[in-house]
Amino acid sequence: MSEVITIVKGKGSFQQTPLSNDSRYESDDEDVYMSDSEAQQNNEDLAKSQIVTPGELVTDDPIWMRGHGTYFLDNMTYSSVAGTVSRVNRLLSVTPLRGRYSPETGDHIVGRIAEVGNKRWKVDIGGKQHAVLMLGSVNLPGGILRRKSESDELQMRSFLKEGDLLNAEVQSLFQDGSASLHTRSLKYGKLRNGLFCQVPSSLIVRSKNHTHNLPGNVTIVLGVNGYIWLRKTSKMDLARDSPMAGSSGSANGPTGATSLNPTQNVSITRLEEESSWQIYSDENDPDISNSMRQTVTRYANVIKALAYCEIGITQERIISAYEASMAYPNIGSLIERENMEALGADIINAEKMRGNGV
């Protein structure tokens, strides 16, 4: 293998996904005969699994409520997409195999400003439609108690402009399924000091926490929509992760009598501090070291390798893949297919060994 470039010859058929390496069902190159029996049998074989395809009858029992991916005709419920049937209580729906990210309330996402409009930003979140971020749903410089004024409307671009990345939470959904976002918390806002990368949203599992501090002083924001931000860990990130001294209540006793709780004090001053213009700054930290940048790059490549192998991306997997990737001192070699596959296999095997996989 040359260090300069790897050129592989594609396999006979035009398939390139790693899914495709098993043999094809087509037995020969002969013309297809007009016999239906063979197809019939095939359908029966497959009917055992819960895969349905468009136009297929899912149930003729009218008791089911029709959810996404189905349609209703003459008391029969049919599938409208190819996917798996899910039955939750009375709700029958078909989950498509693929599709764009569809936002849900409470999702922690990473987005990119696509458009600055009247009192609102349009944010690209990789969904079917851009999400909306209202001017009233962001923290503005000057603290939470500050009132919005007309001048804010005029200087929206000085807060967030086209191309800017931010993390936010889905506040609510509109009738048509598009999302309304907010950044009214210190963990949300403009993203700096790092590198963006993107994976299919289906690989990200919704969980309680989507911001993680990783070994090597790197913090990852794992957007549910598959947009990922890797950055140098800031003081804020560390503070978030450290056990909250006040919350346990041990210092002040269970009564919580001290009204001037020290931690509360800190958080309010920090809020004040952070709500200054700095939260919308475009400047990166001046002292991001070379080794830090290399670590960020390594994480980015590791994530791409996981995505290439279609392995669900979680904090634990990223860390173990990162550790496994140390076997490749040259970070650039991680973009090679073989290495990505090897890394993916390593992770799956390691999990099986520990018994928490599958």
Binding site: M34, A39, P54, G83, T84, L97, R98, R100, G312
Partner: protein, 246 residues
């Protein structure tokens, strides 16, 4: 051309098929995961076609925004090298291409549940790398597969096939030599029903023969639907097996 025996007395066609046989049909989906939301590659005989579906997504122009449903665009790029003889001019703005695009939009507008995706646009981009007769039918099959791959809701499969009429014999799934030698009809059939969502007859066909032509066409289209369904399930199974790793 006229010397060629299109249909021999023994009942064999130029490429050795019988009257009711399809050409080799080979399809794969999700071929361009990086470029599109859904994609397919289809070989129907010597037709080789890439179909990319991009969307539903935010329209780039306000004019494409429809409050009640998604806007569907189809562009067909017939490459200059797609035929045996390279064409001198590009096919991009040819009337024939524009007509095909319009009829494809019409066919799929009713089958895709565009009302589920208001204020978005769905772009379907087709690249014909090679063509050998019955092109429109193959385009339909390619679009159906790519749209399913993209997870766009639809009522049913649409499968397309062309049928020629040689004297009194209908010939299923004709190639370009046959297409040039006889009149033919292209069908787009909805699922396993006998409903046609597209019927293109561009030459003269005796009315009393049309029923025969349609009957074999529908049977052929059903077979194509089954082949597409097989490929899709095969792909789905692999995908599910894969995701159990998560």
């Amino acid at each position: 051309m006229s010397r060629l025996e299109i249909y021999s007395p023994e009942g064999l066609r130029l490429d050795g098929r019988r009257w009711n046989e399809l050409r080799k049909f080979d399809a794969s989906i999700n071929t361009h995961a990086h470029l599109s939301d859904g994609s397919s590659y289809l070989e129907q005989g010597n037709n080789k076609i890439f179909t990319l579906v991009k969307g539903p997504r935010e329209p780039s122009q306000r004019s494409q925004l429809d409050q009640s449903k998604a806007t569907l665009n189809v562009t067909v790029n017939i490459t200059r090298f797609s035929k045996f003889e390279r064409s001198k001019a590009s096919h991009k703005n040819e009337r024939r291409t524009l007509e095909i695009q319009t009829s494809l939009v019409r066919t799929f507008e009713k089958n895709l549940m565009l009302q589920n995706y208001p204020r978005t646009v769905i772009d379907i981009e087709i690249h014909v790398l090679q063509q050998d007769g019955g092109l429109v039918g193959s385009l339909i099959n390619g679009i159906t597969l790519a749209c399913i791959d993209a997870g766009i809701a639809m009522y049913d499969y649409i499968s397309g096939v062309s049928v020629g009429l040689y004297d009194t014999v209908p010939l299923l799934d004709i190639n370009s030599l046959e297409e040039n030698a006889m009149s033919c009809a292209t069908l787009g059939v909805v699922g396993k029903t006998e409903k046609l969502s597209l019927l293109l007859v561009e030459d003269k066909i005796p009315l009393d023969r049309l029923e025969n032509v349609l009957a074999i066409g529908i049977a052929g289209a059903h077979r194509i639907r089954d082949l597409m369904d097989q490929e899709l399930r095969r792909h789905a199974q692999k995908r599910i097996a894969n995701s159990s790793k998560k």
